[in-house]
């Protein structure tokens, strides 16, 4: 078979890029297991199986070849990101429903790999938080805080049968997220400083969760080093979030948490390196990426602080996904030799 030039290509492939993203999640997951127990591994496994099965069914229905698409690893990224975005100790069907919806509706109904307007994992998250808000608030208490730490067997029991060991209640083993707690306590009239003295908070944000975030930073740096992701989005997102949170914090430190707290709370770090950097639904021009990331940071902060949801990362992603065509059109770079000149 003959084809036209170029006759050579780099060995890079989509599946290899996606695999590196999965590798990059491993430090964060390892720390997650360390601080919260192995329940997260169960939900990651459930999500992965669901993602691949849904992908296969949808490919069959769309009459597309299975092999190249099942091996591109993109479904696994959706699965892992969704599993990491929702409580680990949740009924098994929660993560299954979210993953299946994300893959089937927001990925394949839009045309599959490369064509999804919205990040499938974030669509899955949005569906779950709107449909099952209660289930989405029971986050595992980090091991160092829990009076009663569930064993792996007990976690499995709860995930698949909904039964907790005798003498233990869901409230005893789970808690609201540090972000959520901050919001509720502020409503109750406490100041940020009082709230931060509560035992669930560590140096940066929540005990345990701040360490997981550092794990994500390590993975993010790995992706930057291997050029899996471009630096613009993570940097622009984190800087903007820091600046906005910093301004509010400077003006009224009693009511607005510190910028570092915002960076290491919730899914901000995960978002900066793993979610907003999803190339398919993200902006592609250099200036567009800055606008996209800055907009996402602004929305994240607004939703967190003034909105009704515990975190704003997912909705910020979806809202900015909508803006991408406009942003990309507006920010077309000037081509060679036409810089400075009006097009």
């Amino acid at each position: 078979m003959l084809w036209s030039s170029p006759f050579i290509t780099t060995p890079t492939s989509v599946s290899q890029i996606m695999l590196r993203v999965l590798y990059a999640l491993i430090p964060g997951i390892a720390l997650y297991v360390w601080y919260f127990g192995p329940a997260i591994l169960v939900s990651i496994t459930l999500a992965s199986i669901t993602a691949l099965a849904t992908e296969a069914v949808m490919l069959k229905l769309r009459r597309r070849p299975l092999r190249p698409f099942l091996s591109d690893n993109s479904a696994l990224i959706t699965a892992w990101l969704l599993a990491l975005s929702i409580p680990a100790l949740a009924p098994w069907w929660l993560v299954v429903v979210g993953t299946a919806f994300g893959i089937a509706i927001s990925k394949h109904l839009y045309g599959g790999l490369g064509n999804n307007v919205f990040n499938p994992a974030m669509i899955g998250y949005a569906v779950l938080i709107i449909s099952f808000p209660v289930h989405m608030t029971h986050w595992l208490t980090p091991n160092m805080l829990g009076e009663h730490v569930l064993t792996f067997g007990e976690q499995l029991d709860y995930i698949f049968t909904g039964v907790l060991p005798a003498g233990s209640t869901l409230d005893a083993v789970t808690m609201a997220t540090p972000l959520d707690t901050l919001k509720t306590q502020l409503h109750l009239g406490l100041s940020v400083n009082d709230i931060r003295d509560m035992p669930i908070y560590g140096h940066l944000s929540g005990k345990g969760s701040e360490m997981v975030a550092i794990g994500y930073v390590i993975g993010g740096l790995y992706m930057l080093a291997t050029r899996v992701i471009n630096w613009v989005i993570p940097v622009a997102y984190l800087v903007t979030l820091f600046v906005i949170a910093g301004i509010f914090n400077l003006v009224d430190p009693a009511h607005y948490a510190s910028p570092l707290f915002h960076l290491f709370s919730g899914a901000a770090i995960l978002g900066a390196f793993f979610i907003y950097t999803d190339p398919v639904g993200g902006a592609t021009t250099p200036r567009g990426r800055m606008i996209y990331a800055a907009g996402a940071a602004l929305l994240t902060y607004l939703i967190r602080v003034f909105g009704g949801f515990p975190d704003g990362v997912a909705f910020a992603a979806l809202l900015m996904n909508i803006c991408v065509p406009l942003i990309d059109t507006w920010t077309q770079p000037k081509v060679f030799g036409k810089k400075g000149a009006a097009k």
């Binding site: 030039s5 170029p6 050579i8 592609t284 990309d328 060679f336």
Partner: protein, 582 residues
């Protein structure tokens, strides 16, 4: 914004600031294989297939006949029109055919070639050189045109047309020795072995352009060539001439990229570099300019790298017209070779056959095999990772161009500057989805050209149709008027008849008794001709007379538009120069 690079290079006359262009890639160079041995003289082949169209512009017109004996260096194709170049017999022999043959061109279409059977004597036509300092510039350019000197970097633009600038002052003459494509080493070897003649050719070009300085850009992976030229600059005492090592980065040897690196000037697509005070020639072109002027040697041969799937990759000095098949055996082409690629692996083209002749554009033949160039993996959808945009030297957004080209939204591709794409292939080289991006862009460009041609044709047809409609309408009107007139006349006659007394009808023309029947016939014919003439005199006068001013204005307008179209059709220019994208 492109950021000027912080690269400094040590060159003959000190430090020079270099600039960066956006993007670029580092494919494996594979240049060592073909630089181990000096340039070899390729054998005179069994026949020469010399295309008459080896340059940009009009095809040369054959000036020899089949069966005629030609001498080495004899002109066999005369340049035709303003933009054209001479074609010569590369060796002595007999013209065996002048016909359509497959040629080494990306279109894959046959073109007019002159086939010569060499006699092996390699006998020169009478020729002699001149001292360029004693000759007027117009005469020098004429000599270059007659000698068939064209750009040997691959663009094959007639050098005489590039070696003057009446409107703009040329500050810098760039000699391009970058040779960024993998595998190709013909310029490298030429610079190593014949640096003095390159510099002398550069002097002629500098003289023609009245340029202030000569900058020779060579990628820093060719230290031998850089050293050889630097030595030659010192030995030849060339002033205001600098040999500059530029970073090895594909496609840094593109004329516009090299101009950017050396001078910081960006020349946009569709703009001539002379407008920015720079002109660029390939080093091999400069060499040929020197040979053509000083020795009167037309362009008869060129250095060709033969590499890839061969036993001993090497550079050859090859007579133009040498069938590629006869050339590659001299380098030991291996049996599993399945293709001959002309050019490099990034921008080269598959030759339609080993029978095509080496042309002025043939810088390299890469013998390909399935092992050397495995077929591309099946393409996956674009994931908008923008690795393509990161490496694009034209600062394009290849992912968007791909999207629009795939959707056949050609208007959008033009809005996104499709015609600024230089088809360097860097985007497709890095694409993790293995999408043949360049093929999509070529497709879109061809579709747009095709549509423009069709639109032009449709425009002409529409004009023609409108005019026809107009004419039919007018004839109808005239007919109606004539009828009305006739009726009026008849009515008047009737009225007159009614008023006047009856008259005797005129007698039939009497036939003279002593006139033969033949003569009567002749008289009748003459009378008929007379009538016809008279009638013609009445109805024929320019059929645009007797019209309302408005109608006449309309006709004038249509005529003007037709004239413009005729003009367009006469100077298409679209074959060589892409239409401007904006």
């Amino acid at each position: 914004m492109a950021i000027p690079g912080g690269n400094y290079s040590h060159s003959g006359s000190g430090m020079r600031r270099l600039y960066k262009f956006h993007g670029g890639v580092h494919p494996p160079t594979h240049k060592a294989e073909s630089t181990r041995t000096p340039i070899a003289q390729a054998a005179i082949p069994s026949k020469l297939v010399i295309p008459l169209h080896q340059h940009v512009g009009n095809r040369a017109v054959p000036v020899v006949k089949v069966g005629e004996r030609v001498l080495k260096g004899q002109i066999i194709g005369r340049p035709e029109g303003r933009l054209s170049s001479g074609v010569h017999a590369s060796t002595s022999g007999t013209v065996s055919a002048i016909d359509m043959q497959l040629v080494a061109h990306h279109s894959g279409l046959p073109d007019l070639c002159i086939t010569i059977i060499p006699d092996g004597k390699d006998e020169w036509v009478a020729h002699g050189g001149v001292d360029y300092k004693q000759i007027q510039h117009t005469e020098l350019r004429h000599l270059l045109r007659q000698a068939g000197v064209v750009g040997l970097g691959g663009a094959v633009f007639p050098s005489d047309m590039k070696s003057y600038s009446s409107k703009h002052h040329i500050k810098t003459l760039v000699l391009n020795g970058a040779e960024c494509e993998p595998y190709i080493t013909c310029d490298d070897m030429l610079m190593r072995e014949r640096p003095a003649d390159i510099l002398r050719g550069g002097e002629i070009l500098r003289e023609l352009l009245r340029a202030e300085e000569v900058l020779i850009g060579i990628e820093d992976n060719k230290p031998e060539a850089i050293a050889a030229l630097q030595q030659a600059v010192r030995d030849g005492k060339h002033e205001r001439t600098e040999v500059i090592a530029v970073p090895t980065l594909y496609p840094g040897g593109g004329a516009k990229q090299l101009i950017r690196v050396l001078t910081g000037i960006e020349v946009a697509a569709g703009v001539r570099s002379t407008e920015k005070g720079v002109q660029c020639f390939n080093v091999a072109t400069a060499y040929c300019v020197w040979r053509a002027i000083t020795y009167g040697e037309p362009l008869l041969s060129r250095i060709v790298t033969v590499t890839g799937n061969v036993e001993h990759a090497q550079n050859f000095e090859v007579l133009l017209g040498t069938p590629v098949g006869e050339l590659v055996v001299q380098a030991g082409s291996k049996p599993d070779t399945d293709r001959h690629i002309m050019g490099g692996p990034m921008m080269g083209v598959d030759l339609p056959s080993g029978a095509v002749g080496v042309t002025k554009a043939t810088n390299c033949i890469i013998e390909g095999s399935p092992k050397l160039f495995p077929p591309p993996e099946p393409a996956l959808p674009c994931i908008r990772c923008t690795r393509c945009a990161d490496v694009c030297p034209a600062d394009l957004q290849p992912q968007e161009l791909y999207w629009f080209a795939k959707a056949k939204d050609f208007g959008k591709t033009q809005e996104y500057d499709l015609f600024d794409c230089i088809e360097c292939g860097a985007c497709a080289y890095v694409c993790p989805s293995h999408i043949p991006l360049v093929q999509y862009y070529r497709f879109a460009k061809n579709e747009i050209w095709q549509r423009e041609r069709e639109q032009q044709a449709a425009e002409v047809a529409r004009e023609r149709h409108e005019y026809r409609q107009f004419r039919i309408e007018r004839e109808k009107q005239e007919k109606a008027e004539r009828l009305a007139q006739k009726e009026r006349a008849a009515a008047e006659a009737k009225a007159a008849a009614a008023a006047a007394p009856p008259v005797v009808p005129p007698a039939a023309p009497a036939i003279h008794p002593d006139v033969s029947p033949d003569d009567t016939q002749q008289i009748r014919i003459d009378a008929a001709i007379e009538r016809a003439k008279a009638q013609a005199a009445v109805t024929q006068p320019k059929n645009t007379d007797a019209l309302t001013p408005q109608q006449q204005a309309e006709i004038a307008e249509i005529e003007a538009r037709r004239a413009k179209l005729r003009e367009l059709a006469a100077n298409p220019g679209a074959d060589d120069e892409p239409p401007k994208s904006n």
